[in-house]
Symmetry: C2
Subunit: 455 residues, 2 copies
């Protein structure tokens, strides 16, 4: 059973808003490398944005520095397919360059997903990853809906296999996959496709540990865990606990328990620091089961509540909770993951507050109905489609095919401020944050240079 340690990416993203600077964990990297993890998830997701925006680090440099400590262990990242690390589609030339540079800077395994499970949105990233010599892991975003059944998931698994992916990941970002559902899904996938199946979940609803146990029993190839002091709640189940339990059940995780303890002992004071400075809000650790009642992710639920409170309309919560699944049905059951969870939630709220359904329709929903996010998993309700499209036809092709190449233009715009192709890619991914980072970097350089001249 492979263990992927997530403390450097998903765990810190889930618990401390991705605010862990490289200096906080550099000293433990050699020990992490000796622990026997299959991989360390350390890049992608929100880390890239956070490096530029809050930590004033070059994300590419972080990757290279982490890599320099890894003699045994693969590095892993999370990538939103055609969206890379953001929420809109990039042109294929950008996607290919980004993926290639990721591999060239040290990334081993790229986990690639699309929020709609439209595999056309991951195919370019997968293709380039494979060409660059990386391990491409295709994802199925797990969700509950009347149309998301084993048959659909197996069909998605076959598409992932057909893309040439090296492995498959069931990605349950909201922690709503139950142990039985996981067992059945891993079993069905293994019966129908040859790829190793990895399972990713969160401890949010209290199902995570049990779900991983059943993943193992169903023959999953690996699970994602977080070192215990960064585990639980919105993060992953604890590495040490799973390793201990699975070992007794005959699943060898290949890790060294003493080394796991060293790693956790290292991170304890790091966590204490974030507790003290308030970035670690213990609220995230408590088990929240409302997602199981409403079949919507906990994060989406708290967004709905916050929206309604801001509108002084919290008394409409029940109505919004009833409208939410109807909007989702009208939209062809998109998985409730960012940004779709927000889109569905806002539209449901607007429908209720205006007292008329779809009187006002969000810009993003319109783009979605037009097919600009990809293909909806199910059928869009005809009335909603008609309202948005009128007599137009929705796009049936791949949205990224309509995008012009972006890289050369961005490179030209940045000129000498970009010191590398990586800088250009940072800029394309997060223009404002990257420019601020470049400015700061230039200033820092000048300042220290001037000092030398004077002193």
């Amino acid at each position: 059973m492979h263990i992927t340690e997530t403390v450097l990416r998903d765990a810190q993203q889930s618990l401390i808003a991705t605010r862990m600077p490289f200096d906080d964990f550099e000293a433990v990297l050699d020990d992490m490398d000796k622990a026997g993890y299959h991989s360390i998830e350390c890049w992608g997701g929100a880390t890239f944005d956070s490096c530029l925006r809050y930590l004033h680090e070059d994300p590419w440099e972080r990757l290279r520095k982490i890599k320099s400590h890894m003699k045994n262990t693969k590095l892993q990242m999370l990538l939103r397919g055609q969206n890379l690390l953001g929420y809109h589609h990039y042109s294929d030339d950008t996607v290919r360059r980004f993926v290639r540079r990721s591999v060239e800077n040290g990334m081993d395994i790229i986990r690639i997903f699309d929020a709609l499970n439209d595999m056309r949105n991951i195919e370019t990233a997968v293709d380039e990853c494979l060409k660059a010599g990386g391990h491409a892991q295709g994802c199925i975003c797990y969700t509950l809906s009347p149309i998301h059944n084993l048959e659909m998931f197996v069909s998605l698994g076959k598409q992932i296999e057909a893309l040439g992916c090296n492995s498959l990941c069931i990605k349950d970002m909201a922690g709503i996959m139950s142990p039985q559902e996981c067992y059945d899904l891993v079993t069905a996938l293994r019966e129908n496709i040859k790829l190793p199946v990895y399972v990713h979940t969160h401890a949010t609803t209290g199902l995570g540990y049990m779900t991983y146990l059943k993943a193992a029993e169903a023959g999953a190839a690996g699970i994602d865990c977080a070192t215990s002091c960064f585990s639980g709640g919105t993060s992953q189940p604890a590495t040490e606990s799973l390793v201990y339990a699975l070992a007794q059940m005959g699943f060898d995780c290949g890790v060294d328990s003493k080394q796991l303890k060293k790693v956790n002992d290292f991170f304890l004071p790091v966590k204490d620091k974030f507790s003290a400075n308030g970035l670690f809000d213990p609220y995230v650790l408590s088990t929240k089961t409302d997602a199981l009642n409403y079949q919507i992710p906990g994060g989406m639920l708290s967004n709905l509540v916050a929206q309604l409170k801001a509108q002084n309309a919290i008394d409409k919560l029940e109505a919004v909770l009833e409208e939410t699944p109807r909007v989702r049905e009208d939209m062809g059951y998109p998985p409730l993951v960012t940004p779709l969870s927000q889109m569905v939630g806002v539209q449901a709220t607007v429908n209720v507050l205006l007292g008329e359904r779809y009187k006002s329709i969000g810009k993003e929903i319109k783009s979605y109905i037009k097919g600009e996010y990809g293909k909806a998993p199910g059928k869009i309700a005809p009335e909603l489609a008609k309202k948005v499209l009128g007599d137009e036809q929705p796009m049936t092709g791949r949205f990224a095919d309509t995008l012009k190449p972006e890289f050369e233009e961005a490179k030209a715009y940045l000129g000498s401020r970009a010191r590398s192709e990586e800088d250009v890619l940072s800029y394309i991914a997060f223009p404002q944050q990257a420019e601020q980072y470049f400015d700061r970097r230039d200033q820092t350089f000048t300042a220290s240079y001037s000092f030398k001249e004077v002193g």
Copy 2:
């Protein structure tokens, strides 16, 4: 699958030092009664002491008030056998009266354990519970040691059955029982005894959820869970999560999910109050896996660390951690539960700090070696026995047989300050706290009476 909800006892004891006053939960009792729990653990353990000491409540009155709301649901309590709710042995007359009054005041199920698993220490309580018409649940305290194997546990189960208990509980107070160990133990017990087997654990080490899942698969009759906002960490796994997961696996818990949500929604602001006033320290929620490395409970480990820090000798921690299992072995492998965990830990620390083993021996350890706590599970090391006993023989009989009846004397001492037999029992259990409570009660009464006279 039976669900016992622990929020009113073990969960609040584990998370907020048992400080929840009756007024905080009275309003939810009717809803709890409608939830479909097999039982509600609401009394015993530390609640009795806390009522008298901190909350200025009569514990017996609390029991009667809770009972008055229960039309459908059984009440459950935890009792330390011959120790009742404390840490020394009481005379049989006290134990019988305490147990009988518990049942008469509304208790349905009494879970009875002895820290050494010496069944002579639970037999009087079990016998009286049965005679009073209560449900007697005998416990096996779960621990890991070379002699605590399936054979020993099954033999303990047979003793519990022979006592006439209605059911058996595997009590894993430290959360160190792994899912596989639980599966094997429940299976072995079910093959060898006829009693329904209940499983009690904590989420402390991250094993709890998985352990309950395997308990269910092995045919356990029930599990102890806590409503989600009072679940996790040192408390129990979450009720709603287990019910949700088990239902999909074909285990009907007989509870109403909507009602569970009502209950949890009620306790959310209660928890927030304890977060705000500092009694709820979020530290207790984080998963702590050191107990799995050292095979000793987390609470014992933090005690050791605190002791050594107080002695300015934290550099001796590794030595103490190596000495601890040796002391435990010398003592015949007592389960590491209160008070034995403290006794073993202190002795190990003393052995290391004095640089000579058993140069000084604690008073409690001496009593233990003399047999005053009951029979050690294994053999006491001859050198240690010799050091304590000299040429004396240890007691082989039942310690409580040497105790004189206590009740009448206490009743006479209290005189009119005791308004009931329950008051006398409160005094015997916690003399100082009970007297303070009686004084306060009398003052309150006088004060309000005087006020009437004047006004």
